[in-house]
């Protein structure tokens, strides 16, 4: 297989690698460099300013708020989403009633129907989902408040996205809504590959469903749960939180900076305020947070691999 090998390798790698280097790797390197300059993004001139941008960032209140919200996104979102998804997946796969002569464990009636429906939001663009919910949250004519009125809760008419103490939770709820289905399907596939004999043994030992879940299912699914956690966290720190916050909230990021997140702040500094260098500084902070998050989850989640 030696004949013309290197020519072939070079021929096949040049275009993809070149494209990737030019549009992905090079900008990443540049952005770290720019974070030490006073580049505005509007003119080609700039000079080195050392750590000035970083000093400024540490005294920037909005940066700290954005950081707080981003961390909240990375911790709360995966926690809520994955817990809900584990519950649903367990019910779908193992929650069925026991029947004489049937398998020891079984899914609930219509399990494939639930999986199909739950997955709906996953195929929709997060931008479209965000728009839809921005209308649903409308205090006067939105679907949610009018539903509340419809069931007689006329006094409960929150401002939702207009209320600084609620807005962030409203935005997060949308991301939970759109991601639970994905994890239900993911965990279902994992649970399906756990051999039935293990459940049989657990049931013979008198374990109830709760015990079965925590002592058997969860440990065997642990690796999938952990990689799902990292996957969701990276999305929640990056692209997805940008779309929902930018589209749904007033400002965007408001009211009163109550929903601003790091990724949105980078965007605003660079493309609204003409402070490209400072934007890349915040971007570097976002990079550090993302990598630290992934490392911590992987470290905390490390366990001995269970073979089965």
């Amino acid at each position: 297989m030696q004949h013309g090998k290197y020519r072939f390798i070079v021929g096949f790698l040049t275009v993809p690698l070149g494209l990737y280097a030019l549009f992905v790797v090079w900008p990443f390197i540049q952005s770290i460099y720019y974070s030490f300059t006073d580049w505005t993004g509007l003119s080609p001139e700039f000079k080195m300013v050392g750590f000035d941008n970083y000093k400024r960032m540490f005294h920037d209140e909005i940066f700290w708020k954005s950081l707080q919200h981003s961390l909240l996104f990375a911790l709360v979102l995966p926690l809520v989403t994955i817990s809900l998804a584990l519950f649903f997946a367990f019910m779908i796969n193992v929650g069925g009633r026991r029947r004489a002569g049937g398998p020891v464990i079984s899914g609930v009636r219509g399990s494939s129907f639930y999986k199909i429906v739950y997955f709906f939001p996953q195929v929709l663009s997060i931008a479209i989902v965000a728009l839809l919910f921005a209308f649903a949250y409308n205090p006067d004519s939105g679907a949610i408040n009018s539903l509340l009125r419809g069931i007689g809760l006329d006094s409960v008419q929150p401002l939702w996205l207009g209320d600084p103490s609620l807005a962030l939770w409203c935005v997060m709820a949308v991301l939970v809504w759109s991601s639970v289905g994905f994890f239900v399907v993911l965990f279902s596939a994992g649970m399906a590959s756990i051999p039935a004999e293990l459940y049989e043994a657990a049931l013979l030992d008198g374990a109830n469903r709760m015990t079965t879940f925590f002592r058997l299912t969860l440990p065997l699914l642990w690796d999938t749960v952990m990689s799902g956690w990292v996957y969701m966290g990276i999305l929640a720190l990056g692209a997805e939180s940008f779309a929902v916050v930018q589209i749904m909230t007033t400002g965007p990021g408001g009211p009163d900076y109550s929903t601003t997140v790091l990724v949105l702040y980078v965007y605003q500094k660079a493309f609204r305020d003409g402070q490209a260098a400072y934007a890349t500084t915040i971007g570097v902070a976002l990079l550090v947070v993302t990598l630290a998050f992934a490392a911590i989850v992987m470290r905390l989640g490390r366990r001995e691999r269970l073979e089965f």
Partner: protein
């Protein structure tokens, strides 16, 4: 379960357990506990199904209503089906243009991603050469980096090349940002394919290039379909990249067009038209999902299982 094996079609689409025979004379022990739990869990499952479907149904309903009905009674059924909302959205609100642009961009970048991604992945999976590991990890690293950080300089890179606000510029950027996952996934896939067929072809005098296009690519079809679906949805639904790199109103893609439309509705007040646009954008993807349900689920979950 967790590994680099190619996804086996049919794994996750099939209902896991046998769905029901009528409850016969089951053992008395634990029967009661089972029933309470069963009712509770079933209730929760149904509740969530409703929560998923209701907003979508509400959007479809609203898209057929008159503007005044949207504000006065959000949950009432439309008095009659206002198809004119849809017509207005399609022509006046430029939905037709947005669709057209999106199809161009996604079509171009999907083909480009699959061709370039499989080429790179094949070389990285099958050939030993200095720097192989380094290039592989360079690609993989792109998956966990926040794209927004690169977007600030990228805007100027693209601008300097004269590619800002062009369809082909957007296609190139989409391809570049789709490569990390595509290369990651396909490298794993090519490693699982048997080497003997390619060797035989090579012995018979086929060149490396010919072996790749005529032997290996057809063998890799299941992997290409999975990763193709993943990229199709990701690129069709992409919002952040076009928002930054594609600000020309005539070149807008679907997601950004709708968001702009929503922002400008503040002055125009054509909410019914906007909802028609939203539903118009949702339906093709949902329909495609229902038809290709198994493949879609496979394509989207394949990545996270690794």
């Amino acid at each position: 379960m967790k590994t680099t094996e190619p996804p086996v079609p049919a794994e996750s689409g099939v209902p896991v357990a046998k769905v029901d025979t009528p409850p016969g004379n089951s053992p008395k022990r634990k029967k009661k506990e089972g029933r309470v739990l069963s009712v509770f869990s079933h209730g929760m499952l149904i509740l969530w199904a409703f929560m998923v479907v209701l907003p979508l149904v509400w959007a479809v309903m609203t898209s057929f209503k008159s503007d005044s009905a949207i504000f006065s009674s959000p949950w009432a059924l439309p008095d009659k089906l206002h198809f004119d909302n849809w017509a207005r959205a399609w022509t006046d609100a430029n939905m037709s243009d947005y669709f057209f642009n999106t199809i161009l961009v996604v079509g171009g970048s999907l083909i480009g991603t699959l061709v370039l991604g499989s080429m790179a992945a094949y070389v990285l999976a099958r050939f030993d050469f200095p720097g192989n590991r380094f290039i592989y990890f360079l690609f993989i690293g792109g998956m966990s980096f926040p794209i927004m950080l690169a977007l600030v300089p990228l805007f100027y890179v693209v601008n300097n090349m004269g590619l800002l606000n062009t369809i082909h510029g957007l296609i190139l950027v989409y391809i570049a940002y789709s490569l990390p996952f595509t290369v990651f996934f396909l490298t794993a896939f090519f490693r699982t394919l048997p080497t003997s067929v390619a060797e035989a072809a090579f012995v018979d005098g086929a060149s490396h290039t010919r072996t790749f296009f005529q032997i290996m690519l057809p063998m890799a079809k299941p992997g290409l379909i999975s990763v193709g679906i993943f990229n199709f949805l990701g690129q069709w639904n992409q919002y952040m990249l076009p928002t930054v790199l594609n600000t020309d109103p005539d070149k807008r893609v679907l997601t950004q067009g709708l968001v702009q439309l929503a922002a400008s509705q503040g002055y125009k007040g054509d909410w019914s038209g906007l909802f028609a646009g939203l539903v118009m954008a949702m339906l093709p993807v949902l329909a495609a999902y229902i038809v290709f349900q198994r493949q879609v689920v496979q394509g989207l979950t394949a990545g996270a299982l690794k």
